[in-house]
Symmetry: C2
Subunit: 170 residues, 2 copies
């Protein structure tokens, strides 16, 4: 099968997306770093703050922020050293570990949230129209759902004979 390359317009849109989202994340990360947090850590604080008892099983938390279990272990290690969370062993499952937000962790989130939300607004929400923002939300919801659907039984995506000349690599 011959490759369906992106049109010039699609390619431009794709590159704008890559660039814009990189700059967006960069800015938000930089903001958070000024108070000693990173984006992934901030998201963990948010998820825990919303959970009953401000506590979640490691695996649930990992799924919720979409990290690997290993990555979460490392991150929680760092956050535990910083006193933001603590580990509690799970009463109902001997294998399980609960991550619980400490008071300090909660305070840190309360400190960080206004700045973070302001950053999200200033660099994103208030930069695009309300309609466009809603469209982005719907579109990426579909992207996430679709990724799950095909994520199951997927072949390694055709090792791909270079059956045609390079046209536009995106």
């Amino acid at each position: 099968m011959t490759t369906r390359w992106l049109t010039a317009t699609q390619q431009k849109a794709w590159r704008s997306y890559l660039l814009g989202s990189a700059k967006l994340m960069e800015r938000l990360d930089r903001d958070l770093r000024s108070i000693g947090l990173s984006m992934p850590e901030y998201e963990i604080l948010v998820r825990l703050s919303e959970a009953p008892e401000r506590t979640l099983r490691m695996t649930e938390l990992a799924q919720s922020v979409h990290h690997s279990r290993s990555r979460l272990t490392h991150t929680i290690n760092r956050m535990e050293s910083a006193g933001l969370v603590e580990r509690v062993s799970c009463p109902s499952d001997g294998r399980g570990v609960l991550a619980r937000l400490t008071a300090k962790g909660y305070d840190t989130l309360v400190d960080a949230a206004p700045m973070h939300v302001a950053g999200v607004r200033e660099t994103f929400v208030d930069v695009v129209s309300a309609d466009d923002f809603a469209t982005i939300g719907r579109a990426f919801e579909a992207v996430a759902a679709h990724a799950d659907r095909i994520g199951q039984n997927r072949q390694p995506s055709t090792p791909a004979a270079a059956d045609d000349a390079l046209e536009s690599g995106c």
Copy 2:
């Protein structure tokens, strides 16, 4: 000033965006990794392939893929060891270094591109409507442009007194 939190709808859109784009990048990266490349490396190959002589100054290349100069140095080191690019000293500027795509680098790109483009389509372009995709392109173009504009003379974004209670950290 009291924080303008995100509405529930905005928050949902924001989280969908975070999740969807994470899954998207994850998939594309995984595809490329099956032939020994990463997203950043792939983008470098593309930029070089499009440049006259398949050659760019390090700094131009860094700006083009939006990496720090340091990051580019490290990445080009790895790619040079892999034989994908080579360094040439710049004739017109004694400080300068040119990165040039090798034949092997070009072949690698020709191999990778069909799979990569197929991945971009399958997980993104063909998942959302053409209109939505165009909207995303325009929106993130604006985000990128705005980030540049405020990136210049920006105060560290108000260290922010926690002047109000936590409502929704995004």
